[in-house]
Assembly symmetry: C2
Homo-oligomer: 282 residues x 2
């Protein structure tokens, strides 16, 4: 397995593959890999001849008061996991390599970033879209795999690819969960044992919403109320948002006509966790 | 010569060429071609095996009070000129093809867009960077040629290509002028005969600035004052800006150390013209 740290080196590596008309799949990550990432990579392996992973904790998607500095990192472990799962090449650049002095170009996806994390983390999706545009240009993938756990991110990237006419197929992979239901996240490592238990309220709130929709409830304010009540029972939990949105526009909906997405961001202590699921009228 | 009007058709055409590992040069234009455009195309013909031109009056780079609706258009004439000069394929999409409903992604280049046209035409370079990013993804050029007349645009595109790691070589071509010195522009067609004469003040102001620098003047406020005085003699002229900037950062400079760029935008009647030139200390 190769580890490439320069943009130029990665472009040359990818170009040589493209010149042979062989396909590349990229799984972009911020490292500190868990089973969710590995599932994306296993899927990726089936989608193209060459499987790349990128590991880059992207500073432009963190706000000034967020956890960039303490975001967990363990490259040696990540390297072993990538190798085990069949990654051919890791792109592992430094911040200076990706954002040299006088860097000044950003990709803005409007509309679908208005609500949810776009509202509570200003600039976050600008950073995400920018780094993904760069990674696509550097790694030249035919296919890229993203997890559904970051639902709004997935919509943003799909919209960017469509709008800017990029030649990349975006494939989504269902959220991978711990056996008790907690969505896998590198940030779960921040949780104390007590918080780890309380973190289950995110999945419980989603299950409660699904149950209500299954029983015929269509009014999203009643569904959100039930979810909020449930989260309120966890002493360490404070809600950033609980919203039910249109799957394509990510705009809040008042009534569930056919299908919608419930998305939530909840702080457990100081750790901000997100989760989401489709709500489908029966 | 082929004329392609759909994004999908253009991508397939370009992809077939790239799969043969042959090179493409793109000359992006807004049509109503003049000798300046044709010079870019003649140069482009020498830079790659396949020469594409795009003709698209890009609405996102026009402000709400600008001349989008009356911008001159003559596709049949443009088509003949392209054919004569050796263009292989014209990409000629509609607005709806480039910006479908729910379009929402924009490329922002900061810093180098702070002054000059970036200040007087808010959003202009956002539209330029966005459409050029799209055209690069659709037409897949190895090389693209831009005129130096739009100096700040050239800096913006170079910066975008560098920052987003695009695989396109940006080639600049010197401003092409009428025999009396007026920089060629599709907007020159708006000028009455009287205004056409007065429009020469842009080039005269540049020549006066060059003369002063040649005589040893380094103080940009004195050089700008001389240029402004000269423009003031034309009754139809009103100055949008006259500025002397660093060639790379496009930030105004107080003193010319080695080289700088004088850039000006002047309204002749209601027609806004721009011009620029390098100022080099002897």
């Amino acid at each position: 397995m190769d580890v490439i740290t320069t943009v130029r080196g990665m472009k040359e590596y990818a170009r040589a593959i493209k010149d042979r008309r062989e396909t590349i799949c990229l799984v972009p990550t911020m490292g500190y890999l868990h089973e969710g990432h590995l599932e994306l990579m296993r899927k990726g392996r089936t989608l193209a001849r060459h499987l790349f992973a990128s590991i880059f904790v992207n500073p432009t998607q963190f706000g000034p008061s967020e956890d960039l500095a303490r975001y967990p990192r363990d490259f040696e472990r990540d390297r072993r996991l990538c190798e085990d799962v069949g990654v051919e090449c890791i792109f592992y650049p430094s911040v200076e390599e990706m954002y040299p002095a006088s860097y000044s170009t950003y990709v803005d996806v409007e509309g679908v970033t208005r609500h949810l994390c776009g509202a509570s983390r200003p600039g976050h999706f600008r950073g995400v879209a920018t780094v993904v545009a760069k990674l696509f240009n550097i790694c030249m993938p035919d296919v890229a795999v993203f997890g559904e756990k970051d639902y709004q991110q997935l919509v943003v990237i799909r919209r960017m690819v469509r709008d800017l006419d990029m030649d990349v197929q975006v494939v989504a992979h269902p959220t991978v969960r711990e056996s008790d239901g907690l969505a896998m996240s590198s940030r779960n490592t921040y949780l104390t044992p007590q918080q780890r238990m309380e973190a289950l309220v995110l999945k419980k709130a989603i299950d409660r919403a699904k149950e209500l929709v299954g029983q015929g409830e269509r009014d999203t304010s009643r569904i959100k109320k039930a979810a909020l009540d449930l989260i309120g029972e966890a002493p360490s939990a404070s809600v950033d948002y609980v919203e039910i949105v249109d799957p394509d526009t990510v705009e809040p909906v008042g009534t569930i006509d056919d299908r919608a997405v419930i998305a939530l961001a909840v702080r457990i202590g100081s750790t901000r966790l997100i989760d989401n699921a489709e709500l489908k009228a029966p």
